[in-house]
Amino acid sequence: MTLNVSELESHGTDDLVEVEGLEQSSVAGRSPMQLAVARFRKDRLSMVSLFFSIIIVLCAIAAPILVAAGVLHPNAVHQELLGNDGVTPKGGWSGVSGSHWLGVEPGLGRDLGARLMLALTYSLAIALTATALTVFIGTVLGIVAGFSRGIVDGVVGRFIDLTLSFPQTMMLLALSSPAVLFLRTTMADVPGFGVLEDRDRATGLYVIIILAAFGWPPVARVVRGQVLSLREREYIDAARLLGASRFRLYFKEVLPNVWAPVLVYVTLLVPAYISAEAAFAYLGVAIKPPTPTLGNILADSVNYTSADPWFFFVPGIVLALTVVVFNLVGDGARDALDPKTDR
């Protein structure tokens, strides 16, 4: 009897502590999502980084519109702004002026600010598409493996081992010439894929495929772990008894319950893929100028470390800032969605 009481008491205090930690005033029932959002909003750093990442995303969305409207000129050459050597811009600071806020590129004198803004569009598009593909593969395989267990689970597990054993960067390098050629010739002949004849599109798609092909195993592992416990729940038994199809069980019953860890992964994958694109660009596997990406601008800027340090630092800092704020949002999301975290 005494034991029971103390147990009850300890539960009572636990609940109290939790409610207090969230919000004192209201005692109304709230969904886990609402709780997470409330927790996220209470964290100042996460909110600030969310604010900045929204600005970055808005820039990325606005850039192509502004280019089409004739406001941004990322490819306009300004030879007149270059010094006597015809390479480095006139004046210090890379030729920063009222019309070129971040200066101009050495060599061609293109506006750095405009190029970086449009680069955000391309880099984010690549990172987001690759993330979507990664999450899709990882989630589907994770759910299937966790739910069916047995042989299927074993096969997926070995498949994960196999994927993780491949050296990603080396495969990226080694496969780049044949794969891009394949996309531009064989794939482009398939009806509907004609757009791949374009070099940039083919390279972009190749980068996305490589990122997703080597990025899905952790997602699959996390999802599988979740599904292993979910599949034992009563509501799954109930659905099964009602004659739900396999597809329905997987994607209507289980999927909505694994979104939390997947969401955290998404927010952390995007910045990881943005920096991966930069690394790929340094190795020469990226969309090539004049189409700007954060990676190819940065890969170009490293040639001017001493001649034009401003041009070396600005793209690097823009990239790092982007990655930092996205990472902070990801961290915030993880803390908010994980009820165990206390900060």
């Binding site: 070995r158 081992d161 196999l162 993780l164 054993s165 491949f166 050296p167 960067t169 080396m170 495969m171 390098l173 080694a174 496969l175 780049s176 010439s177 044949p178 794969a179 050629l181 394949f182 010739t185 064989t186 910045p271 920096s275 930069a278 690394a279 340094y282 190795l283 940065l298 890969a299 490293v302 470390t305 001493s306 070396f312 690097g316 990239l319 790092a320 800032l321 982007t322 990655v323 930092v324 990472n327 902070l328 206390d342 900060r343």
Partner: protein, 338 residues
């Protein structure tokens, strides 16, 4: 334990065999004819055919894979042609076991190319590993113990920012500014232990090692901090404190030991990945390691070298996986190998 090891090793070998098959399928079933690259731009179809035959590229991928496997165990001749062996033995390149292929571009066996470049990558990996493990775990533990203070925030903030810069950016920054502009260290150039002694070897590697370590350290600070905080909130730590153990013993013997297990796992796998060459860092500093070899091999599409490197790296990762799992059981007595 022994049965477990045997099973894991067999599993690893199977994985490696499957991997080599996949690799061969990817490379040799690709639409690019490797012979096109091997014999230069002005190459007649007949010459191309001859080159392909000499390199064994004319076969289907499965036979090529079988030949490769044979080469690993007994060695191979390029071209493997008994007639030619009698008439013109000087045109045949012999590749003794373990043969990972013959690179026509470099007129050398892939195995010997790897033997030349491996020491650089291994040296770099060892030095970088020491820096990042010591720094990462130390700063991570400090941040966890001083949680919420300015020290914690500073450490976490710095590692977050450092983590966001690409490796090549950090490397070039160190190379161009620390070494060339300010001259704080000698311009990095790889020196063997035999040439420069331990100190010469270490100082010749310090900048690239720091470059690599910075990237990993940033991740390890955050990881260590998270694990230590987690284990500090465990019941047994509270018990240890309650029974009056000194704070130092609680932190290091109780909390840290539990936090260390996942870190060892990560560190082992990261180290193995690094053994296969830090492609970007080696390119930035122009060090003749495996990573540089991979970049060069890719430039002139030297397929045998690329395939050899991919399989070698995969073998490193597979072996490291087994070692890490065994280590796991040693550190954490609760883990039972089965």
């Amino acid at each position: 334990m022994f049965a477990y090891l045997v099973r894991r090793i067999i599993g690893g070998i199977v994985l490696l065999i499957v991997m080599s098959l996949v690799t061969f399928a990817l490379f040799f079933a690709s639409p690019v004819n490797p012979a096109d690259f091997s014999c230069g731009k002005n190459c007649s179809p007949a010459q191309k055919k001859q080159t392909a035959a000499a390199l064994g590229f004319d076969d289907n991928f499965f036979n090529q894979w079988a030949d490769f496997g044979k080469g690993v165990f007994v060695g191979r001749d390029f071209p493997d042609d008994p007639k030619l062996r009698e008439t013109a033995p000087e045109t045949i390149a012999h590749c003794p076991a373990p043969c990972l292929g013959y690179s026509r571009e470099r007129t050398a066996n892939v195995t010997s190319l790897i033997k030349e470049t491996l020491p650089v990558s291994v040296s770099l990996a060892i030095l970088a590993f020491i820096i990042w493990i010591v720094g990462g775990v130390l700063f991570g533990v400090i941040a966890a113990l001083r949680r919420g203070t300015i020290i914690d925030r500073g450490l976490v903030g710095i590692s977050l920012v450092l983590y966001a810069f690409p490796t090549f950016f950090v490397g070039l920054l160190l190379y161009k500014f620390v070494a060339i502009k300010w001259g704080w260290v000698d311009i990095p150039r790889y020196e063997t232990i035999a040439d420069g002694g331990i100190t010469g070897w270490a100082s010749s590697l310090i900048l690239p090692a720091i470059t690599l370590a910075v990237f990993f350290m940033a991740a390890y600070v955050r990881m260590t901090r998270a694990y230590v905080i987690e284990s500090l909130s465990e019941d047994y730590v509270r018990t240890a404190r309650a029974k009056g153990l000194p704070a130092r013993a609680v932190t290091f013997k109780h909390a840290l030991r539990a936090a260390l297990t996942p870190i060892v796992t990560m560190a082992g796998l990261d180290f193995a990945g690094l053994l296969g060459g830090a492609i970007i860092t080696e390119s930035v500093f122009n060090y003749p390691g495996l990573g540089k070899l991979a970049v060069q091999a890719n430039r002139d599409y030297d397929l045998p070298t690329l395939v050899g490197l991919v399989l070698l790296l995969a073998a490193f990762v597979i072996i490291a996986n087994i070692i890490v799992d065994v280590l796991y059981a040693v550190i954490d007595p609760r883990v039972r190998l089965s």
